[in-house]
């Protein structure tokens, strides 16, 4: 049976892992390759690097990080951030990544998803969707089940409906959707399971939940209520609030299929 994945995410800036709140207030949390290797040993099912370095500083640094990581951690590696063309994707894959995630670039040019899927297969193309809940009709409460896609690290609204964009991205060739709630990201208030379920019930590709993990119970909720196939988190792992095996133990206790490491199997 296909296991539900637990994925530590490493936000990388100029070759270092950083984490902020709502994409701001960045703090240094370590070397990406070292952290990735540690997580792989601890049972991470996959590693995601999101490169948030400004474009003109990026070239080379990220590829070197990917190369070092792929030489040490024998688990799947997804890289996102600033990849804008088939050729750039090829470079990232050749450095050792298995998948590339597109966010702002896909919104700006949706055909990029198709071009990359045609060249490398849809399994290598991830569409990352940053979504913000729209206010209710009275304008006060965030209670409407509608979400807007935001780009440029959450700074720019697009007026795109997040669920419709998710459906379209899958049709265009994305083989996976990485769905981040901008309302929850970095807040430790739990995943937006309504957003996840709204998307997961409309697409056949796997959905990765992101934004808001506070504890193991949130991972269970993302899969059970949000229907996510995989769950991504950053700071709770980097700051050692919970280990990957603690999260998986909670998921297994809730009856969800997870890959347990030998010796830690319960």
């Amino acid at each position: 049976m296909l296991a539900r994945r637990v994925i530590p995410c490493l936000d990388v800036d100029k070759g270092r892992v950083v984490k902020g709140t709502n994409f701001l207030n960045l703090t240094d949390e370590g070397d990406p390759a070292e952290l990735a290797e540690r997580y792989a040993h601890e049972g991470a099912d996959e590693i995601v690097f999101l490169d948030i370095t400004a474009a003109h500083e990026r070239r080379g640094t990220l590829l070197e990080v990917v190369r070092r990581t792929a030489s040490r951690a024998f688990v799947p590696l997804t890289v996102g951030g600033g990849v804008r063309s088939v050729d750039e994707m090829r470079d990232v894959l050749r450095a050792g990544a298995d998948k590339v995630s597109f966010n702002t670039a896909a919104v700006a040019a949706p055909s990029l998803l198709t071009a990359c899927a045609d060249r490398f297969g849809s399994q290598a193309v991830v569409c990352a969707i940053d979504a913000r809940r729209l206010p209710g009709r009275d304008g006060a409460a965030n209670d409407a089940r509608r979400w807007e896609v935001v780009t440029h690290g959450g700074r720019r609204p697009t007026e795109l409906d997040a669920v419709e964009w998710a459906v379209r991205a899958a049709e265009l060739g994305a083989g996976e959707l990485l769905v981040t709630s901008m309302d929850r990201d970095g807040t430790r208030r739990g995943f937006d399971t309504e957003l996840l379920a709204a998307i997961a019930t409309r697409v056949r590709v796997p959905v990765i939940a992101s934004g808001g993990a506070a504890g193991p119970g949130d991972f269970v909720a993302a899969v059970r209520d949000g229907r996510a196939d995989a769950v991504l988190a950053a700071s709770i792992f980097h700051r050692r609030l919970y280990s990957i095996s603690e999260v998986k133990a909670a998921m297994a206790a809730a009856g969800l299929p997870v890959r347990r490491l030998e010796g830690s199997a319960a």
Partner: protein, 217 residues
């Protein structure tokens, strides 16, 4: 044995070559990347890796002149391991882009039927259907990493080593003599994957030793 086992990994374009070459090196193989037939000379085993679509992969193999030499290699009974798309390419054809593939194993690759999610991405259990040294030290039902939407349907089901279920069961590992195929990615499957690659290298070394003994006799 004389020195490490030499493995050529066929490079036909877009595949992630870093992970498979580093994983093979990590289990003690001497690894070369082969972009052309000449690079296959003097090696003990060939690995056909792969991600992506069948039709462009076959185009790239043809452009690099690798199709003929690879067919000869396998028909001579020499060690070869196909991984993921590289496994599917060993068969007659693929429904993906209606591609004609290498024709070294009878059967064709078909889309996963009744899959709850597609592509099939993630760690799934590999259930052994017959014992084989390729899985020495690996528990039945161990998790390996999969990324694919198609899987081969071998005409000769007796070759199947293991099955995995996503929707319906499909052949996730196969062996015919020294020819091996895996639908999952051992180079992405952490310790279990490294163990399997180590077993492949060990089988190749044992085969070499056997051949030398035959020659000596």
């Amino acid at each position: 044995m004389s020195g490490p086992v030499k493995v050529a990994v066929l490079d036909y374009g877009a595949a992630n070559m870093v992970s498979i070459t580093r994983a093979l090196a990590a289990v003690g193989a001497e690894v070369a990347v082969a972009e052309e037939p000449a690079a296959m000379a003097g090696v003990d085993a060939i690995v056909v890796p792969g991600v992506g679509a069948a039709a462009p992969a076959m185009d790239h193999l043809r452009e690099r002149g690798l199709v003929g030499p690879l067919r000869e290699w396998v028909r001579a009974g020499r060690p070869c391991l196909g991984i993921c798309l590289g496994f599917q390419l060993l068969f007659d054809a693929s429904d993906e882009g209606d591609a004609e593939t290498l024709g070294l194993l009878a059967g064709r690759s078909v889309a996963l039927a009744d899959a709850p999610t597609l592509p099939h991405i993630g760690w799934n259990s590999v259930d052994l259907v017959r014992p084989h040294p390729l899985f020495d030290g690996i528990a039945d039902g161990s998790y390996f990493y999969f990324v694919h939407s198609f899987a081969p349907a071998p005409a000769d089901e007796s070759l199947i080593l293991a099955r995995t279920t996503h929707g319906r069961p499909f052949a996730s590992a196969l062996a015919r003599g020294s020819l091996y195929g895996l639908q999952f990615h051992p180079e992405k499957s952490s310790e279990a994957g490294l163990r399997l690659l180590s077993n492949f290298i060990g089988l190749t070394a044992a085969g070499n030793a056997g051949a030398m003994a035959v020659e000596a006799a």
